[in-house]
C-alpha cells in the first residue's frame, strides 16, 4: 500500500510528541514515526530536517551531539520547557480539530 503524506502542519506536532518521551536523533525520529503510524506515514528527511532546525531556532528544541547505543555520534534533540508548552497547545488544538472533523463526518 502506498504510504500517506503527512498532513500539512502536523509534522511539528508529531516531532514534539515523539521527543517528549526521550531525546532522539533525526534518523530515530523518522523510524519512530514510521513505527507509531503503523508504517502509514513516511517522513521525507527533506522535510524532517528543516522542521527540526526551525524548531531548534525557535527554542522549542535543544540539540547536542551524543553517542548512540551502537557507539556512533549523532545529534540528539530534546524538548525544552517552551517546546513542552507548544506541544500542549498544539495537542489541545489538534484534539478539537480532529473531534470537529470526526463529528462532521459521522453526522453526514
Amino acid at each position: 500500500m502506498e504510504k500517506l503524506d503527512i498532513p500539512q502542519g502536523t509534522l511539528d506536532l508529531m516531532i514534539l510528541t515523539i521527543l517528549v518521551r526521550e531525546p532522539m536523533h533525526g534518523y530515530g525520529i523518522s523510524q519512530r514515526l514510521a513505527v507509531l503510524s503503523h508504517d502509514q506515514f513516511h517522513v521525507n528527511p527533506g522535510s524532517l530536517f528543516p522542521s527540526l532546525y526551525r524548531l531548534e531556532q525557535d527554542g522549542k528544541l535543544k540539540a547536542e551531539w551524543r553517542a548512540t547505543a551502537n557507539n556512533r555520534r549523532a545529534k540528539y534533540y530534546r524538548l525544552t520547557a517552551s517546546g513542552r508548552r507548544q506541544l500542549e497547545r498544539h495537542r489541545a488544538r489538534w484534539n478539537r480539530v480532529s473531534f470537529a472533523v470526526t463529528s462532521v463526518l459521522e453526522g453526514a
Binding site: 536523533h25 533525526g26 534518523y27 530515530g28 523510524q31 521525507n44 528527511p45 527533506g46 522535510s47 530536517f49 528543516p50 522542521s51 532546525y53 526551525r54 531548534e56 531556532q57 525557535d58 527554542g59 551531539w65 548512540t68 551502537n70 556512533r72 555520534r73 549523532a74 545529534k75 517552551s82
Partner: protein, 909 residues
C-alpha cells in the same frame, strides 16, 4: 526569550558559518550511516545500502539546501552571500573599485563637510527652552550690518513696556576680557559675559552642578551679586571637573567672586563662534568696571526673548519699532546724524543662535551647498555609467548565472548589493573626508576677519553628529539609487532574455551604448556648470584683490608695538615712533617706512563730518569723511599715487595743521577747482586744516566698498597709536628677524605686537569670496576629473567592443590617422552634445552666482562696489577645459585602437 534566541541563532549561522555547515554535514552523514547500517542488517551489501540511504534522504546536498532555505533568517544568509560575492567582485577589480569609491567619497564627503557647517551655523537649535519661539532684536543703520546692541536703559524699557514677549533677557553685546586668578592658577585673561537676572531661567537652562544666576544675585550693590557661573569646558580645564569648585573664590579684576554653578556641557551662550567661560550678573558690572557703563545706562547688551503664544514676529516687530523710536531719535540728536531716521528695527528668529555669523556666511554656504549638490549628481551619474559599462562587460557572467537557474530578481539583487556596497564604502570614506574637510573649513573661516565683537579666531563647534551623519547616509542612499538603478535595470531587462547564445544582440547593445553616451553628455553638462562657476569666482577674487584698490598690497609689512610696559607718556610714544622710522628704513630690504593710525582693509576706521566755507549740502546728503592719521611717505609706501600738491614732511611738526585729501573728497567738495590751499574744519572743532595735497582714491576699511571721501592728517602734528608700515624689496616676512633686533636695540622696553602683511590683511577681509573661489575651484577640478574618467571609461569600452570593426577597417586600408580620428570624433561629439546642454545652464547659473557675490559684498560694505561679472570668459574657459579633458581622456583608447592587429581582431570572432 524566543526572539533573542532566534536572533542569536541567525547570527551564529552568519558569523560561525563554517561550524554550522559542518554540523549540518555531520548530521546528514550520521543519518546516512544509520540508515545504511539498518539496511545492511537486512542483508544489503554496503555499497547498495549506502546508495539506498542517500536516496532515502533525498540527496545530501538537496536536503542541506532545504534546511538552509527553510531556516528563519535565510534571507539574511542570502544577503550575507550577496555581500560576500560583491566583496569578492570588488576585490578582483581593485582599480575599478578604487575609482568608484573615490568618486563617491568625494561627492559624499564634500556634501557632508559643507552640510556640517550649514547645520552648525544655520540649522542646529540652541540648547534652550522653546528655541522656535526665541527671537532677537536687531536694528540696521543704513548700509551697516544689522546689530543686536542696545543700551541697558533701553533694554529695561523694552522689558517693562512690551506686550509681545513672555520674557526678554539681555547679555553683554561683546564679551569682556577679565584678569582672573583662581585658587591654584592665574592670573590669566578670561572672556566673561554679564547677563540679566532672568537670563538662565527664561532660557530654561539647567546647571550641571550648583545653581545658575537668578534675580537674587542681580541686585546692584548686594553682596550676593559677587558671584559667577562657569562653563563646563572651563570647569574641566581649570578644575578637572571637581565638584568642590562650588563656593571657590576667583579674583576677577581684583574683586573676589564666588563660583555658584557650572553650566551644562552643551551650553556656549547664544552666539555661535564664541564661548566665554565666565558668566556674571550684570549687577556686578559697577564693581568691576570703572567707570560703570551700567549705571549711566550705556552698557551695551544683546536682547533676546520668547514671543508670547499667538504673537507673530511681525506683530512683535511692529511694537518694537514704536518702542525703539526714542532711542533712534536720541542717537540722531547726539551725532547730528539724520541717517538714523532711516534706521530700521527688526525681530528675527534666534532659535539657532544670534544672527551675526548667519548673516555673514548664509549666502556663501547656500551657494556651496548648491555646488556640492551638482557635484554629487555628477558623481552619481559617473558611477552609474561606470557600473553600466561594467555590467555590459559582465553580461556573459549574468547569462551564465541565469542559465544555471538564478532568478531574475536574484540577479538584480546581486547588482543592487554591489551598488550598495560601493556606496557604503564611498560613504564611509566620504564621512572621513568630511571630518577633515569640515575642520579645515573651520580653520579657514577662523583665519578670516571676525565680525565686530567676535573673538579672533572664531570658535565654531562643528561636529559630525547625528543630523550630519544622517545627511551623509542620505547622500549615500541617493547615490546608490541614482547610480545603482541603471545597472540594475540593465540586468533586469537583459538577464532573463539573454541565453548564452543571444549575447551581444546588436540592437540591444546599441540601445545601452546610447544610454551610456547620454550619461557622459550629462556629466559634461554638469561639469561645465561647475567649471564656469569656478572660473567666475576665481576671477572675481583676483579682481577683488587687485582692481581699484588704490594701493599695492604686495610686499608690505605691518608691525604694531606694545607700549603698555614702557612707561612712556603720549608725547614720548609719539617722539619714539618718529625716531623709529629712520631706523626701520635703514634695515636691509626695506624700501620705505611709515606709520598710520589705520592701515587699509583692517576693518576698523573712523569718520567725521567736515565743514567747508562756501559749501552747503542738504542734511540728507551729509556723510562723514573717513579719517586716517599718517606719517610722511605713507602714500609712497602703500603705492597710492599722488595727484597734486606735496606729501607731509617732518618739518610740518609744530606748524599750521595740514591735510591731504583723496580725489573723491576733492571732487565732492571742490568740483573741478583745485582744493590745494583750501581750508576745512572738523565738526565741533574750531582749528582749520589746510589741504596741501591730493592723492588717488584708495579703498578704506573694506575691499567691497567704493573708496570713501578720505582725509589724511599728519601724524607729525598729533596722534600716538600707529601701525608701522614698511614696503620691502624682498618677501616681507624675511626682514622680520633683523627688524626685531633693531626695535629691541632702540626701544628695549617695548614689546612687539602683531606682525602681518598687508596682503594677509586684505585676504582676511574677503574670506567668504576666498572660500567660494577655493571650494568652487576644487569642485571644478573634481568635476573635470570625473568627466575624464567617465569619458575614458566609455571610449575604452567602445574601442574594446569595436575591435573587430576596427580590425576590418585597418585590414581594408584605414590608416592610423583614420582610426584616431574615429575615436576623437566620437569623444568630441559627446563633449559637444554636453556643451549644448551645459553652456545655457552655466549662463543661467551665472546670474545666481552674481547675486550671491552681491549679497556677500552687501553684508560687509557700506556702498558695495560692483565688479563686472563677465558672462562669456568663464564659460569659454570651461568649454576649453572640457575639450582638453576630452582629448586627454581619448588618448589611451585612441592609441589602443590604432594598435589593433587586424589579424588578431578578425580571428577573435
Amino acid at each position: 526569550m524566543t526572539l533573542p534566541h532566534r536572533l542569536m541563532s541567525m547570527l551564529r549561522w552568519i558569523v560561525r558559518r563554517d561550524s554550522a555547515e559542518q554540523d549540518l554535514h555531520d548530521e546528514m552523514q550520521a543519518f546516512v550511516d544509520m540508515a545504511a547500517a539498518d539496511r545492511m542488517r537486512d542483508g544489503a551489501s554496503p555499497a547498495e545500502a549506502r546508495r539506498a540511504a542517500v536516496i532515502d534522504l533525498g540527496g545530501v546536498e538537496q536536503t542541506k539546501e532545504r534546511v538552509r532555505s527553510g531556516r528563519h533568517g535565510a534571507w539574511l544568509d542570502d544577503v550575507a552571500r550577496d555581500v560576500r560575492y560583491a566583496l569578492r567582485t570588488c576585490a578582483r577589480n581593485p582599480g575599478f573599485t578604487a575609482v568608484v569609491v573615490i568618486t563617491l567619497a568625494s561627492g559624499i564627503g564634500a556634501n557632508t563637510a559643507i552640510f556640517s557647517l550649514v547645520d552648525t551655523l544655520m540649522l542646529r537649535s540652541l540648547p534652550v527652552r522653546e528655541p522656535g519661539q526665541l527671537v532677537e532684536l536687531l536694528f540696521k543703520y543704513p548700509r551697516d550690518p544689522r546689530l543686536n546692541m542696545y543700551g541697558w536703559k533701553h533694554y529695561e524699557r523694552f522689558r517693562d513696556q512690551n506686550h509681545v514677549f513672555s520674557d526678554l533677557v539681555a547679555m553683554s553685546a561683546e564679551p569682556g576680557h577679565f584678569q582672573v586668578t583662581g585658587p591654584a592658577y592665574g592670573p590669566e585673561v578670561v572672556d566673561g559675559t554679564y547677563v540679566s537676572g532672568n537670563f538662565f531661567e527664561a532660557l530654561g537652562l539647567q546647571p550641571a552642578i550648583g545653581h545658575l544666576i537668578g534675580p537674587e544675585e542681580s541686585q546692584i550693590g548686594s553682596p550676593r551679586a559677587a558671584v559667577a557661573v562657569i562653563t563646563w569646558s572651563y570647569w574641566q580645564r581649570r578644575f578637572n571637573l571637581d565638584p568642590a569648585v562650588l563656593g571657590t573664590r576667583l579674583v576677577v579684576d581684583n574683586v573676589p567672586i564666588t563660583i555658584i554653578g557650572v553650566t551644562r556641557p552643551e551650553f556656549f551662550g547664544l552666539q555661535l563662534g564664541m564661548d566665554p567661560p565666565l558668566w556674571m550678573p550684570i549687577a556686578l558690572e559697577p564693581r568691576l568696571e570703572q567707570p560703570s557703563r551700567l549705571l549711566d545706562g550705556s552698557a551695551l547688551v544683546s536682547v533676546v526673548g520668547h514671543l508670547k503664544r499667538g504673537v507673530t514676529r511681525e506683530q512683535a516687530a511692529a511694537e518694537m519699532r514704536v518702542l525703539d523710536r526714542p532711542r533712534l531719535v536720541e542717537l540722531e540728536a547726539r551725532g547730528h546724524d539724520v541717517q538714523w531716521r532711516s534706521a530700521t528695527t527688526d525681530v528675527e528668529p534666534a532659535g539657532a543662535g544670534l544672527s551675526i555669523l548667519r548673516d555673514r556666511f548664509a549666502s556663501t554656504l547656500r551657494l556651496m551647498m548648491a555646488a556640492v549638490g551638482v557635484l554629487l549628481l555628477l558623481a552619481s551619474v559617473n558611477v552609474a555609467s561606470m557600473l553600466l559599462a561594467r555590467s555590459a562587460a559582465r553580461r556573459r557572467e549574468m547569462a551564465v548565472r541565469v542559465a544555471l537557474g538564478a532568478g531574475r530578481l536574484r540577479v538584480i539583487r546581486q547588482v543592487l548589493t554591489e551598488s550598495l556596497l560601493l556606496s557604503t564604502l564611498g560613504g564611509g570614506c566620504g564621512v572621513l573626508l568630511a571630518y577633515f574637510g569640515a575642520h579645515a573649513l573651520v580653520t579657514i573661516i577662523g583665519s578670516g576677519r571676525s565680525p565686530v565683537g567676535m573673538p579672533q579666531p572664531l570658535q565654531i563647534p562643528v561636529h559630525l553628529d547625528l543630523p550630519v551623519l544622517a545627511f551623509a547616509a542620505g547622500a549615500a542612499i541617493t547615490t546608490t539609487v541614482l547610480s545603482g538603478l541603471v545597472p540594475a535595470w540593465h540586468a533586469f531587462v537583459s538577464a532573463p532574455s539573454s541565453s548564452l547564445r543571444e549575447i551581444g544582440t546588436a540592437a540591444e547593445t546599441r540601445r545601452w551604448r546610447r544610454f551610456g553616451r547620454g550619461l557622459v553628455v550629462a556629466q559634461v553638462a554638469l561639469s561645465v556648470i561647475l567649471l564656469s562657476g569656478a572660473a567666475l569666482f576665481v576671477r572675481h577674487l583676483t579682481d577683488l584683490r587687485t582692481v581699484g584698490l588704490g594701493f599695492q598690497s604686495q610686499s608690505v609689512l605691518q608691525i604694531t608695538l606694545d607700549w603698555s610696559r614702557s612707561g612712556y607718556n603720549r608725547e614720548q610714544i609719539g617722539a619714539s615712533s618718529r625716531q623709529m622710522l629712520d631706523r626701520m628704513a635703514s634695515v636691509a630690504g626695506v624700501r620705505s617706512a611709515t606709520f598710520a593710525a589705520m592701515t587699509p582693509i583692517s576693518g576698523s576706521g573712523g569718520g567725521q563730518f567736515v565743514n567747508i566755507q562756501g559749501f552747503s549740502e542738504s542734511p540728507d546728503d551729509r556723510r562723514r569723511v573717513s579719517l586716517n592719521n599718517v606719517a610722511p611717505k605713507y602714500f609712497e609706501t602703500l603705492g597710492t599715487p599722488f595727484i597734486a600738491g606735496r606729501d607731509f614732511a617732518p618739518e610740518d611738526e609744530g606748524g599750521p595743521r595740514v591735510a591731504i585729501v583723496n580725489q573723491a573728497m576733492a571732487r565732492y567738495y571742490f568740483g573741478a577747482s583745485s582744493p590745494l590751499g583750501r581750508q576745512f574744519t572738523f565738526e565741533g572743532q574750531a582749528r582749520p586744516l589746510e589741504i596741501i595735497g591730493v592723492v588717488g582714491d584708495a579703498k578704506y576699511n573694506d575691499v567691497h566698498d567704493t573708496p570713501p571721501r578720505t582725509v589724511y592728517t599728519n601724524a607729525f602734528q598729533g596722534g600716538n597709536r600707529w601701525t608701522f608700515v614698511l614696503r620691502t624689496g624682498m618677501p616681507p616676512m624675511s626682514v622680520v628677524p633683523h627688524l626685531r633686533s633693531v626695535i629691541h636695540d632702540t626701544l628695549p622696553n617695548v614689546a612687539i605686537g602683531r606682525i602681518t602683511t598687508l596682503a594677509e590683511q586684505v585676504d582676511a577681509s574677503i574670506l567668504p569670496e576666498r572660500l567660494i573661489a577655493m571650494l568652487s575651484a576644487l569642485f571644478g577640478v573634481l568635476a573635470a576629473m570625473l568627466v575624464a574618467i567617465g569619458l575614458y571609461g566609455l571610449l575604452a569600452y567602445t574601442v574594446t567592443r569595436r575591435t573587430n570593426e576596427i580590425g576590418v577597417r585597418i585590414a581594408i586600408g584605414a590608416t592610423g590617422r583614420d582610426v584616431i580620428q574615429m575615436v576623437l570624433t566620437s569623444a568630441l561629439g559627446l563633449v559637444s552634445a554636453g556643451l549644448i546642454v551645459g553652456v545655457p545652464a552655466a549662463l543661467w547659473a551665472k546670474s545666481y552666482a552674481a547675486t550671491v557675490l552681491a549679497t556677500v559684498a552687501a553684508s560687509q560694505a557700506e556702498a558695495p562696489i560692483t565688479l563686472p561679472v563677465n558672462p562669456i570668459v568663464p564659460v569659454a574657459i570651461a568649454v576649453i577645459a572640457m575639450v582638453a579633458v576630452a582629448l586627454a581622456a581619448s588618448y589611451v583608447p585612441a592609441r589602443r585602437a590604432m594598435q589593433v592587429d587586424p589579424m588578431a581582431a578578425l580571428r577573435c570572432e
